[in-house]
Symmetry: D3
Amino acid sequence: MPIVTVKLLEGRSDDQKRQLVEKVTDAVVETTNASPEKVSVIIEEMSPSHFGTGGKRVSDS
Amino acid sequence: MPIVTVKLLEGRSDDQKRQLVEKVTDAVVETTNASPEKVSVIIEEMSPSHFGTGGKRVSDS
Amino acid sequence: MPIVTVKLLEGRSDDQKRQLVEKVTDAVVETTNASPEKVSVIIEEMSPSHFGTGGKRVSDS
Amino acid sequence: MPIVTVKLLEGRSDDQKRQLVEKVTDAVVETTNASPEKVSVIIEEMSPSHFGTGGKRVSDS
Amino acid sequence: MPIVTVKLLEGRSDDQKRQLVEKVTDAVVETTNASPEKVSVIIEEMSPSHFGTGGKRVSDS
Amino acid sequence: MPIVTVKLLEGRSDDQKRQLVEKVTDAVVETTNASPEKVSVIIEEMSPSHFGTGGKRVSDS
């Protein structure tokens, strides 16, 4: 039942996202003993104008 | 104050989303005794290339 | 694949939570045509000192 | 390490979002003593057809 | 309708959390023109054994 | 800036959680080219009475 959400800035290729889902699933299976088919991974992309650290958005840096 | 988030694959019609918000609210009100006007429902759609189970994205199946 | 998260104030009985998961699942299945076994529901309880509206926490009201 | 997520209806200007990230960060720093550079803020916009209160979506009101 | 979630390490006092909810609400109202009574703030505390950066949990540092 | 949240049923050992944070971070770094120190991982445990699939909670199975 593990449900993994990965929030990251937009800009990764489709191939990177495919591998991200695959490798994160492997990491969860290996360390928690969950069955692979029970692991879900959700990618949520953020726009540079919708994310900031230290009070400053990426789009303003 | 219940806040409900429904993450699901994109592709539902506007009418289905309208009913989803209505029926989920009813279910929460009925089972928790919250007042309807205190229940919020958020729909978050996922692209098939941003969701996977068992390490494989929906877009790769 | 719908994943539903319900955030609500702590204090519901175990029976209410059981029915909440059941009825919310029914509502999602009925309106989105998802298979029941693909619908997951997560309940996240909030303490009155960890939730506020209008700038005032429930525990301070 | 505070991570703040602000979900709100779409429609704010870029300048409002810039200030939102700045002012929310200030509020978190002032009240928790976190270092500013450790505070992240994520803005998540909701469409009026994806958010409802009392069982009715904003787009249906 | 803004819904704000603040995830932070456990250890803040009740008074700090009270002020956090108040000041973050003020910041959202000031920058988005939302009415205060429409702004909700949720605090979610994380244990040092449940949060890490750079692959290392706070509890292991 | 990737922020990863892993929701899973309670019951893993402290050592499993330590490795989970480490290996998931490695998987994100490897596939997205993010610097390790920019990757945060949050573990959120769910009680069997707060999670269900197919309308039935784990605690009722």
